[in-house]
Symmetry: C2
Subunit: 317 residues, 2 copies
């Protein structure tokens, strides 16, 4: 009987599920709808049905536990609090709801923290005791690792770097405040910045033919890779703001490396070069040229699923 | 024979020395000139002469080790690097120089990190595993504690919050960059802000009779306590900038409390109220009203000497 952890990553649209062994090999991968507009109990019933089907085709395994990553999840309390893209409720007692349907031991954490753990156990941060992982999705998430441990802080909400302030009266954020980092640096932030460039510059671009509503941020990444100068400018602007803010983050925990994860990173140097340039320029003299800026080592795998599974070995080993 | 740690705090002008027992009682306290313009070897010789005199009057003790806090000191390397107020050299191999004169085991750390350790072991942070201490002196120093340990990061320079950016083209800092937090929030920053208020506002104030050169920042604290409206405005401005930046720091490590230490804190509510107000206003909804903002519990004692001595028990126990 092979010991298996079930790693689950709950996103705004889809929930990814993996059966993962201790070495980080994913034996089975699947996904279900998050049903983000519904009810948490209905979602967990649906998850149970799906897992029953998956597990029925794996008779040679024993389940060690379930690790779950979700937006705004609280590791200490097992809750999901004020997650803007999951509307099961403002304050969801997820762990309680889970325990009513499942007998498996379960541990819940924030999705970006799960990804940081995945990077440390199975990715490019292996052997590092101090690093930061930034996830660039619809918003900006982060996991900070200090002395080999993911930082949770007093209440489980450490590492919410998507909400550090960039500009006092800047762009409106989903959290209700203005000028948060994720309104500039994220898939959505990139789209907003592209439209800013359209207004301020005169570069010709096919992207000018697409409405704000219709423009998928992935199209900007593709355009940048093909040399569209407006898209490249939008990435440069994104990299400048990210680089300047990462310099401040370095002053907090002095990480060995900062990893970038998510679809935006596929733009490669269009994002990495300006981010690195502005980070170095903004760093204190004695901290320059010391911090690696790297893409995640789990870009082609499911970092959050792997990280969630790693939590199981950490908690229930 | 009572076991004693020698705690030493090297400042820009004076070096404080304490013989401290395990309970944090200071048996003997003294100070010497830092001779900051001289040579590190001469300073250590001078320190040795002084210690010989001090120890000759305490025959009933045994020395466990020496803990030293100094600006820009590197815990890992035993160096003092680019300290603007100590000109023994740009890159000082302090630990090596010390070992040539002394046989005691010695541990060196940054002065603010020593103060954070002092706060944790002997002050108001007793029992806390996640907190931040801000020292407000000529500059702004900080010590960040995560999971009960002072954060050093990859190279020993974590927690350099004095240099997070407040304004892209703001005030010139000693580090050569513009807009660092300590150019606004520190004794010197307060003085600069008072002069800004003199220019922008029309409030009458005795402080208008003093030149920039002659104005000692302590006078501003005294004036604020007596109700001088210009001084109060300068503190409000200081508190606004500090509060906004502390909100960003909370997003990094989610501390249980933030402690303020140093002469500026004597202004009491003139500083604490605006800092608290702007921190809460700037915090993410789910983090509001959770983080205590408190004066250090070691204001009347020598926190850096106590913290440096605490390092001895931690390292050589």
């Amino acid at each position: 009987m092979k010991e298996i952890a079930i790693g689950i990553d709950i996103g705004g649209t889809n929930t990814n599920i993996g059966l993962v062994d201790r070495e980080g090999d994913i034996l089975h991968q699947d996904s279900i709808s998050t049903m983000a507009d519904g009810n948490v109990n209905d979602f967990i019933k649906f998850l149970k049905e799906k897992l029953t089907v998956i597990l029925s085709s794996h008779s040679d395994i024993t389940i060690k536990g379930v690790g779950i990553g979700a937006p705004n999840a609280n590791y200490y309390k097992g809750t999901i609090e004020y997650a803007s893209n999951i509307r099961w409720g403002e304050y969801i007692h997820f762990k309680e709801a889970f325990a009513q349907q499942f007998d498996y031991p379960m541990v819940l954490t924030n999705d970006a923290k799960a990804a940081a753990l995945g990077e440390m156990v199975y990715g490019n941060a292996r052997g590092m005791s101090d690093f930061v992982l930034i996830t660039l999705g619809t918003g900006l998430g982060s996991g900070i690792v200090v002395n080999g441990k993911v930082v949770y802080g007093q209440d489980g909400f450490a590492g919410e770097l998507g909400h550090v302030n960039v500009k006092p009266d800047g762009r409106l954020c989903g959290c209700g405040r203005r000028g948060c980092l994720e309104t500039y640096v994220s898939a959505t932030g990139l789209k907003r910045s592209l439209f800013k460039m359209m207004v301020e510059e005169t570069d010709g671009s096919d992207l000018r033919n697409i409405s704000y509503t219709d423009l998928d941020p992935r199209v900007i990444t593709e355009a940048a890779k093909k040399g569209d100068s407006l898209a490249i400018r939008a990435f440069e602007y994104t990299g400048k703001i990210l680089g300047e803010k990462l310099a401040d983050t370095v002053l907090h925990t002095s990480p060995e490396a900062i990893f970038l994860f998510g679809g935006l990173v596929e733009a490669g140097d269009c994002l990495l070069i300006p981010t690195k340039k502005h980070m170095e320029k903004s760093l204190l003299k004695m901290l320059r040229n010391k911090v690696k800026l790297l893409p995640s080592g789990l870009m082609d795998k499911n970092a959050a699923v792997l990280g969630a599974s790693a939590l199981v070995w950490q908690e229930f080993a």
